[in-house]
């Protein structure tokens, strides 16, 4: 066992400093403590509940109830205001049910968000850990590749792919992964660099653990909390980007419902009926904000910086 470094022997920054807020309970009344605990719980469970609720609405509700079609409507019902019979969020200018479009558009948004983020975590995480752990020319090479991908405007690639291969959900996932892979790569490289030189790593190496075994048993568990909290942020960003592609007409092809396309279509009747833009925009903000807040709460719990 290596001798403890001098700074490790002193807990915290010396006697004079106010010290890190390790125990927020010190000198706080039990009542205040209870309210703090409640606040912490609410910060986690409220956004988690919103995310679960919206996921259930998008993926389970269409299975258990009969919903109006998200792509075809009756032109006689066109432009129904919200709270109309049969269409509780109203219908769009060609008579398609707004709530159905939200639900099915939400399916697409979450599918793309989860797939792109998962690809980013796995591929980017592997690249970043490899670069950070092994260092040297491997790091130099992989870091340049990541730099190039970050400087490469993802939007250009996404648009070019949609333009060349035709818009589809799979192509959107491909295109946006080019954006998520370098982001997770850079994050996991940095996190690996921090973990690499800690004492337990030295201990692991001295105990004879080598290479990938160290990565799997010691590096990965330590950087995983950071990757998970960032991926919640990532899903939100991807949902916004997916909406941007739909909005521009390069995302999910038209008959399929999508939030971005709803905003773009609503824009044409903006001054007369702003609710067509308002409803999908608010849903988009609520979903992304819930994901962000969930990420923040988990970060607070796990002490991720």
């Amino acid at each position: 066992m290596a001798a403890p470094r001098p700074e490790a022997a002193l807990p915290g920054p010396g006697l004079l400093a106010p010290g890190p807020p390790l125990l927020p309970s010190a000198g706080v009344s039990p009542r205040r403590l209870a309210s703090q605990r409640l606040g912490r719980a609410l910060r986690l469970w409220v956004p988690a509940g919103i995310v679960v609720l919206i996921l259930a609405t998008c993926f389970l509700l269409p299975l258990v109830t009969r919903m109006p079609s998200p792509t075809n409507g009756n032109i006689l019902d066109a432009g129904d205001p919200p709270f109309s019979p049969g269409h509780w969020l109203g219908t769009d200018p060609v008579g398609v049910d707004v709530f159905s479009q939200l639900v099915y558009g939400g399916q697409v948004a979450f599918e793309v968000g989860l797939a792109v983020t998962a690809i980013g975590v796995v591929v980017g995480g592997l690249l970043g850990i490899t670069a950070g752990y092994f260092g040297g020319w491997v790091d130099a090479l992989l870091s340049r590749v990541v730099d190039i991908l970050i400087a490469f405007p993802a939007l250009v690639l996404a648009l070019a792919i949609a333009e060349g291969l035709g818009p589809s959900e799979v192509h959107v996932i491909w295109a946006l992964s080019v954006f998520s892979i370098p982001a997770f790569g850079r994050l996991s490289r940095g996190a690996t660099l921090v973990v690499r030189d800690l004492e337990f790593m030295v201990a692991a190496r001295l105990a004879g653990t080598r290479g990938w075994r160290v990565i799997a048993r010691h590096v990965l568990p330590n950087i995983l909390p950071g990757l998970v909290t960032f991926s919640l942020l990532g899903i939100g960003i991807v949902i916004i980007l997916e909406g941007a592609l739909d909005y521009l007409g390069y995302g999910i092809p038209p008959p399929t419902a999508s939030w971005g396309a709803m905003i773009a279509n609503g824009q044409t009747v903006l001054t007369a009926q702003p609710e067509y833009v308002l409803i999908p925009s608010v849903v988009l903000v609520v979903v992304v904000a819930a994901l962000n807040m969930l990420g923040d709460a988990l970060r607070e719990r796990w002490g991720v910086r």
């Binding site: 890190p20 490469f152 993802a154 250009v156 333009e163 060349g164 905003i263």
Partner: protein, 345 residues
């Protein structure tokens, strides 16, 4: 206190004699050299990748230009005239040689890409500068106000606003701004089509809404980051205790000491965010009809105008790379440990 500041500013880094010797073999210069080399590699990689992607796509440029009724002979002839029949490495090599001579080629309509860029660049530059400067300035003010009293009213308010900015899609937020401030209140025009023409009045009038749409998410990111960093500095760092012990007012400690150190992480994030900022700029420019290179890029992609796409991507990549480089160098300028090569990072 004045003496203390002088000592702090000079940091004991010697006189002019010392300075000359330092420049010759200085780690700072080596750092600059390494970063420049890396920046060149990145620039080359981006142009190569763009070229590769564009040429991997089905190539029907000549067909599109000539219309549906063109004979196969005409298509072949135009392909030959545009040089599209040559293999990808040859085309890339020609383009690269041209770029190194400062010539970005001609677009499909026969106009020089250089002049296209020169014509559209000012509007984008104005827009990005407005968005960046505005969001940075507001973020610094709000973060300092919030960090003064963590969990106070200002802090909670700033957290809520920045959460909103982080979660709002720029295009949706832009439409919201247009509805409220252009249509309902009539304070700003809906279109910003004379941005970049040089007049200050039109810059403020037409630039504000698009810059706000671009800057709101940036403001959110910067504020969250700076506030968290400031709070941590104030709670943990020894030099804060020293500053307090010297008898400085809380405001002075916050601004002169904590803010100065927190600027480091802010600078890095500003550099890193340039890439995504540029992507968002394309959509916002198209929405507000700003005559910039972002909206030009969207048109060029629709037309599969490869030379124009290449030129714009090159400019964007150049800005991203330069921003990162500048962030690195600012680090070196601001942090003596890096300047003297003592840091491990």
């Amino acid at each position: 206190m004045a003496l203390a500041q002088q000592v702090q500013l000079q940091g004991g880094n010697g006189g002019p004699r010392d300075r000359a010797g330092r420049l010759a073999g200085s780690p700072a210069l080596r750092l600059v050299g390494r970063r420049l080399l890396a920046a060149l590699v990145v620039l080359w990689g981006v142009t190569f990748l763009t070229f590769a992607v564009m040429s991997a796509l089905p190539n029907d440029t000549a067909q599109v230009l000539l219309g549906l009724h063109a004979t196969p002979g005409q298509v072949t002839a135009l392909n030959k005239a545009l040089g599209l029949n040559r293999p990808f490495p040859v085309r890339y090599w020609h383009w690269l040689v041209g770029v190194l001579h400062g010539n970005l080629g001609t677009d499909l309509e026969g106009a020089s890409v250089n002049s296209q860029l020169a014509q559209h660049l000012p509007a984008t530059a104005e827009l990005l500068a407005y968005a960046l400067a505005g969001s940075l300035l507001l973020a610094v003010i709000v973060a300092v106000l919030a960090a003064r009293q963590p969990n106070g009213l200002a802090d909670r308010l700033s957290l809520a606003v920045s959460m909103l900015g982080l979660s709002a899609a720029p295009y949706a937020f832009a439409i919201f701004l247009i509805v409220v401030f252009a249509v309902k209140l009539g304070w700003f025009p809906v279109q910003s089509n004379s941005l970049g023409s040089g007049s200050v009045l039109s810059f403020l009038q037409q630039g504000t809404l698009p810059a706000a749409s671009l800057g709101f998410p940036l403001f959110a990111i910067y504020t969250r980051l700076l506030r968290a960093d400031l709070v941590e500095q104030l709670q943990r760092e020894d030099y804060i205790v020293t500053a307090k012990a010297k008898g400085l007012a809380p405001w002075q400690v916050l601004i002169r000491h904590a803010l100065r150190n927190s600027m480091f992480s802010l600078i890095t994030v500003v550099g890193l965010n340039m890439g995504t900022l540029i992507g968002a700029a394309a959509i916002i420019e198209a929405l507000f009809s700003v005559p910039g290179i972002g909206s030009e890029l969207l048109t060029a992609i629709g037309d599969k105008d490869v030379p124009l796409i290449e030129g714009i991507v090159l400019v964007f990549a150049l800005v991203t790379v330069l921003a990162n480089l500048a962030a690195d160098l600012m680090y070196a300028v601001l942090d003596p440990r890096i300047r003297y090569g003592r840091s491990t990072s």
